[in-house]
């Protein structure tokens, strides 16, 4: 915001309260209420305002408190933001970021814990980014703010407490490129967001049993960096896709299908998906934990796939 005066933030509780998870804390004081706007409780309203602002020259960040609320704003997202450039023959686009958070981990229950990236992945015209590291929370967001397309930037509520080193002088994230977070040669684990942390822990566990898993952090689902993934799967012959989003019709299905199309001749085993259960997320912590993949489950699957 210091570098680009066109960046404005609009959303519920982003100003005086500093954001439901504190991600906009201090911004109102620093940049004033012209650029940090507390909106009424109307997702359709402030997302629509952001779309309009983006069309007229600003670079707005619309802050959606929970991704679960995106249904109310979906017309603005899917029918407006995603389509404007096409509908106006390329004369204008919607360079905005819809910043939101999702996932389990805080007993926030069924209407505040979903992983809905698949909804946005299904709409051509939207970019979808999901940071899984502290550095990407910063550098991937900065890269998103430079794009000409609307970006749905989905953070994970359980990662807000994750500590990590940030080097602000480092270059912004290479947009659309996946990163091999851990090298291995026996199985490829493709994941993103919080499941990256789980997959890395599982890979370390598996290494203790002599199985070396390569862990790929996709970082963006649109664009999807299939090249990095297929390079790895071609090498390992085995692929596991891990998502917190539920199994049926989810992003893991799309990623698996693409790997199969790209790497069929190199596969030694069927591609496996480890995904959330097809259930509303329960509020009870034990049930909540068991409704999404665990480190133990990922470890077990890695070990079973590579015997």
């Amino acid at each position: 915001m210091m570098e680009a005066p066109t960046i404005v933030i609009i959303g519920e509780e982003v100003g005086a309260y500093g954001g439901a998870y504190g991600v906009t804390k201090g911004l109102l004081k620093e940049f004033g209420k012209e650029r940090v706007i507390d909106s009424p409780i109307s997702e359709a309203g402030f997302v629509g305002a952001a779309v309009g602002a983006a069309m007229s020259g600003l670079r707005p960040v619309a802050e959606l408190m929970y991704i679960d609320f995106s249904g109310i704003a979906m017309d603005q997202i899917a029918n407006q933001a995603a389509k404007i450039r096409y509908m106006f023959g390329g004369q204008m686009g919607v360079p905005m970021v819809l910043r939101t958070q999702g996932g389990t981990g805080r007993s926030a229950a069924a209407q505040h814990s979903q992983s809905l990236e698949g909804w946005f992945l299904h709409v051509p015209g939207l970019r979808v980014a999901l940071p899984g590291t502290v550095s990407d929370a910063y550098h991937l967001l900065r890269a998103s703010l430079r794009l000409a397309d609307p970006v749905v930037f989905i953070e994970h509520k359980a990662l807000y407490v994750q500590k990590g080193k940030l080097d602000p002088t480092q270059a912004d994230a290479d947009w659309g490129r996946a990163v091999v977070r851990r090298p291995g040669d026996q199985v490829t684990v493709v994941t993103y967001s919080r499941m990256l942390t789980y997959a890395l822990a599982a890979a370390e566990n598996a290494a203790g049993h002599g199985v070396e898993a390569e862990v790929i952090d996709l970082r963006t689902l649109n664009p999807l960096d299939l090249e990095t993934v297929s390079d790895s799967v071609t090498k390992t012959g085995r692929a596991i896709v891990v998502t917190e989003a539920c199994l049926t019709g989810g992003p893991a299905a799309e990623i698996s299908a693409r790997i199969q199309e790209e790497c069929f001749d190199f596969l030694e085993e069927p591609i496996l998906r480890i995904a959330g259960e097809d259930v509303p997320i329960p509020v009870a912590p034990a049930l909540e934990t068991s409704s999404v993949p665990t480190v133990e489950l990922i470890t077990e699957v890695i070990r079973k796939l590579v015997r």
């Binding site: 012959g237 069929f264 001749d265 190199f266 596969l267 030694e268 085993e269 015997r307």
Partner: protein, 419 residues
């Protein structure tokens, strides 16, 4: 319109299995008698399979690229015959035959169809790709994956096994000899012809192994992995001799084809004490004529098509060769080596070696085999050989042992005893 199962026909007796190169008739398509239904690759040769009656293709049971055993069902067809089918016609009657006349089969395990575990083999996509690339037969491999699935690693391991049971080839690209069998009845050394390679002895080696011989096929210098060191045939022969191992009883039967025949004569002349018998298949060195266009064409062949044109001269009935085999031959050939050797052998269509004087000195029994359709050499020139040399004539081209193993190999395997 009876529906019939089409099975893979045997096209020559060395064939145990074939790879479907492609289907020319798709399900739903009608065909007339004589039209080509599919192309099959076997023993490096591609053959068109024609329909014997009018009909309609119903279903392909085997896809292009897959390898199946002889007599294995490959398609379902409907035939348009007017008369009622014979009582047996509904069963898996072969509905076609090839243009290769059926011949009495050699009774051996090698010639029975390989066991194929149903139509489906459990193998990973990677295993299928690796098998395709290495030319490995998947049903032969025991899978170590879940539910017995064959993995890519299994295929690679299978392909690189350095020790195989007697009777099978030890493939080696490093110039090591190919070996078959155990030396119960003796050892045979096999020398291939100009621009050939040890794999041309596969059927011969297997046959000799069945007969209780150990057979070893050597790669000649200037072919594949070995360069030509000297500039004369004498040096070439010295090099071959230095590479020959010593068999247990000290003696070996020497079998040479074409250029390998000339080299065999020179080995026997220089080292008479070690040669138990000499068998020369269409040898160089006993006449004057040679097909110079074949030599020149082989030396300068730069494409699969050019190479195939020359190879078609080597058999009585010109054959089509598998693209993969041609590509492999092109890849492994050494043009400089072949050119040098070609000059040693012949100039302007005249053989430069005359080895009958050497032959006359050899005390070990000598046999000469020729095909009467040889297009590289004139078999009639063998008629003027000394009377003590046995001459066997076959109805083949230049590659008698390869073209007609069922006729040639039983004769070849009866090695004459030294007097």
């Amino acid at each position: 319109m009876p529906e019939k199962k089409l099975t893979l026909p045997r096209m020559g007796e060395t064939m145990n299995e074939g790879t479907i190169v492609g289907w020319l008739k798709q399900p739903g398509e009608h065909f007339r008698r004589g039209e080509t239904l599919l192309e099959v690759e076997s023993d490096k040769i591609n053959v068109d399979i024609p329909a014997l009656e009018d009909g309609e293709m119903v279903l392909h049971l085997v896809l292009a690229g897959e390898k199946v055993a002889v007599d294995h069902p490959i398609a379902v067809v409907q035939t348009f015959e007017l008369s009622p089918p014979s009582p047996n016609a509904g069963e898996s009657q072969p509905t076609l035959q090839t243009n290769v006349a059926p011949k009495p089969e050699i009774q051996s395990n090698e010639d029975r169809p390989l066991p194929v575990a149903g139509a489906k083999i459990r193998a990973s996509p990677a295993a299928r790709r690796v098998a395709r690339e290495l030319g490995v037969n998947l049903p032969e491999i025991k899978g170590t994956g879940p539910r017995g699935r064959v993995t890519g690693t299994d295929v690679r391991r299978h392909a690189t096994l350095s020790v195989k049971p007697a009777g099978s080839t030890v493939a080696d690209s490093s110039g090591q000899p190919f070996r078959w069998g155990k030396p119960q009845r003796g050892t045979c050394f096999l020398l291939h012809g100009f621009a050939g390679d040890p794999t041309t002895w596969r059927r011969t080696g297997e046959f000799l192994a069945e007969q209780g011989f150990e057979a070893m096929a050597f790669e000649l210098p200037g072919h594949g992995s070995l360069p030509v060191k000297g500039a004369s045939l004498d040096e070439l022969v010295a090099e071959v001799i230095s590479g020959l191992p010593s068999p247990l009883n000290g003696k070996f039967h020497l079998v040479g084809h074409s250029l390998g025949g000339a080299i065999a004569i020179l080995i026997a002349a220089r080292d008479p004490g070690r040669v138990a018998s000499l068998t020369l298949l269409a040898p160089i060195g006993i006449g004057t004529y040679i097909n110079q266009s074949f030599l020149d064409g082989i030396v300068s062949a730069g494409t699969s098509e050019a190479l195939e044109r020359e190879l078609r001269k080597t058999t009585g009935r010109p054959l089509s060769y598998a693209k993969s085999a041609l590509a492999a031959m092109l890849e492994s050939r050494r043009e400089d080596g072949l050119r040098t050797i070609s000059r040693m052998m012949a100039q302007d269509g005249v053989q430069q070696l005359f080895l009958v004087p050497e032959l006359e000195k050899i005390t070990a029994p000598v046999r000469v085999f020729f095909g009467r359709q040889d297009k590289i050499l004139h078999w009639q020139e063998a008629l003027s050989l000394p009377g003590k040399i046995a001459l066997h004539l076959f109805d083949t081209g230049h590659m008698a042992h390869w073209e007609d193993p069922s006729e040639v190999l039983p004769v070849l395997g009866r090695f004459p005893a030294s007097s």
